[in-house]
């Protein structure tokens, strides 16, 4: 698989995590591809943390780049039945457990379910934006990312980069498999049959627990 195929493969598997009616917040990049792969009959309510509930694709008819933007500052739109709220209300909604799932990428994750995705000391200082709040507040935190970075593991025993939030991840979905966070560590529950379990472990610094019900992540 090339990069684009890997991203589409991960997004397609992540889409199966969402249930009809879920309120979902998507991070930038790969997560924004997830709605393209929702199973038939599943419609989710997309929330944008700058204050939109039920975001919709921008068209020539609804475009108003001065007044409606998404969390990345790009032009956005609101769907029929949607609403606009202010930032304090929006983050009350996020921290208050009203968001069913947040899907975001990671630079590093670890076996305690902690995530680092906002800061590379000395190199980049973009800011955490709403990520720290989303991680502690969403009911399900799904990390969707490539399994390794330039061949080096991103799934570690302990994050080395500064944390975005600790012990917050529900599930990690990569092109190699699906891992859930358990009190004993990361459990591989699904795998991509293109790889052997040994290959998946070799690409993972954390020790994987193999689920007794391990199955293929491909339909």
């Amino acid at each position: 698989m090339d990069k684009a195929e890997i991203k589409a493969f991960i997004a397609k598997r992540v889409a199966r995590e969402l249930k009809d009616g879920d309120i979902v917040n998507l991070g930038i990049g790969l997560p924004t591809m997830v709605p393209n792969y929702l199973p038939e009959g599943v419609t989710v309510i997309l929330q944008s943390e700058n204050g939109i509930i039920r975001t919709a694709p921008v068209t020539d008819d609804n475009r108003d780049a001065i007044h409606v933007v998404d969390a990345g500052g790009s032009p956005a739109a609101v769907a029929p039945g949607g609403s606009f709220i202010d930032s304090a209300t929006s983050f009350g909604l996020i921290r208050g457990g009203h968001v069913d799932a947040t899907i975001l990428g990671g630079l590093e994750v670890d076996e305690e379910g902690s995530l680092a995705n906002w800061l590379i000391p000395g190199k980049r200082m973009p800011g955490m934006g709403g990520a720290m709040d989303l991680l502690v507040g969403a009911k399900n935190v799904i990390v969707a990312m490539e399994h390794t970075a330039k061949g080096k593991p991103k799934i570690l025993k302990k994050c080395r980069l500064p944390y975005t939030a600790v012990k917050c991840i529900t599930k990690i979905i990569t092109e190699m498999g699906v891992m859930i966070v358990t009190p004993d560590g990361l459990m591989l529950t699904e795998y991509n049959p293109e790889f052997t379990i040994d290959e998946i472990q070799a690409a993972t610094e954390a020790q994987l627990i193999i689920s007794p019900e391990l199955k293929s992540m491909v339909d």
Partner: protein, 229 residues
């Protein structure tokens, strides 16, 4: 009742070294005409409290958009924000030139710290940032365990001025916001000594229904008319 003044008069209210909250999110909801005029003034050494540093390119092809103009003109000595990564000049001035101090705060904490500042609360207890370097932030006063969960105690934020960007403002100063431009404007309008609100359009009393008012005119000290952006 608020005073209705010109943008030039409003800019003269801001002294060097003032702490100023700017409502908006990536420029959406910024008081564009006021900020543009401020960026052409000599006012300097501002502490800017804003969600973000906006970005150089605007949606209408502007070279600099919203608050990015003030950063570009080096009028800001300290920036308190949740995200600055889309404006490369922030990294340049803070990490290379060393002329801009940046204090990052999680977005939800920032909103709630401002809300607390405007609502007379002594701080905010939030689970956001527990176990991260936010625990070392000058805004973090410590950790408390409540019913088995850890929370950080974050200080309230208050400013000398808040600069609000509304769509319609009536003669009583009541503000109606369009689209997603409420964002930080709502809390910031409550958390500063002096609130300056820019309207795209100033309207008669009654044109904004009382139930559609999102910032009550009692919070607003000065209104300027910016016109359609």
């Amino acid at each position: 009742m608020p005073k209705f003044i010109t943008i030039e008069e409003a800019v003269k209210l801001i002294p060097d070294g003032a702490t100023v909250m700017f409502g908006g999110f990536m420029g959406c909801g910024n008081a564009h005409r006021f900020i543009d005029a401020l960026s052409k003034s000599d006012v300097k050494d501002l502490t800017m409290i804003a969600n973000d540093g906006v970005c150089p390119g605007g949606p209408m092809g502007e070279e600099y958009y919203g608050c990015a103009k003030l950063i570009h003109n080096k009028q800001v000595k300290k920036l308190i924000a949740s995200h600055v990564g889309l404006n490369p000049e922030v990294a340049q001035q803070s990490m290379v030139d060393g002329t801009l101090e940046v204090q990052l705060v999680p977005q939800g904490s920032l909103a709630e710290m401002i809300r607390a500042g405007g609502a007379g609360l002594g701080g905010v207890l939030t689970p956001t940032g527990v176990g991260t370097i936010i625990e070392e932030s000058p805004f973090c006063l410590g950790k408390q365990n409540i019913d088995g969960r850890d929370y950080l105690l974050m200080k309230p934020l208050h400013a000398d001025f808040a600069i609000i960007g509304g769509a319609k403002i009536d003669k009583c100063g009541n503000v109606w916001y369009k689209g997603s431009s409420q964002n930080f404007n709502i809390v910031m309008a409550t958390a500063a000594d002096v609130v300056i609100a820019e309207a795209e359009e100033i309207v008669k009393i009654g044109e904004i229904a009382p139930e559609d008012v999102r910032t009550s005119g009692i919070f607003v000290d000065y209104v300027v008319e910016g016109g359609k952006y």
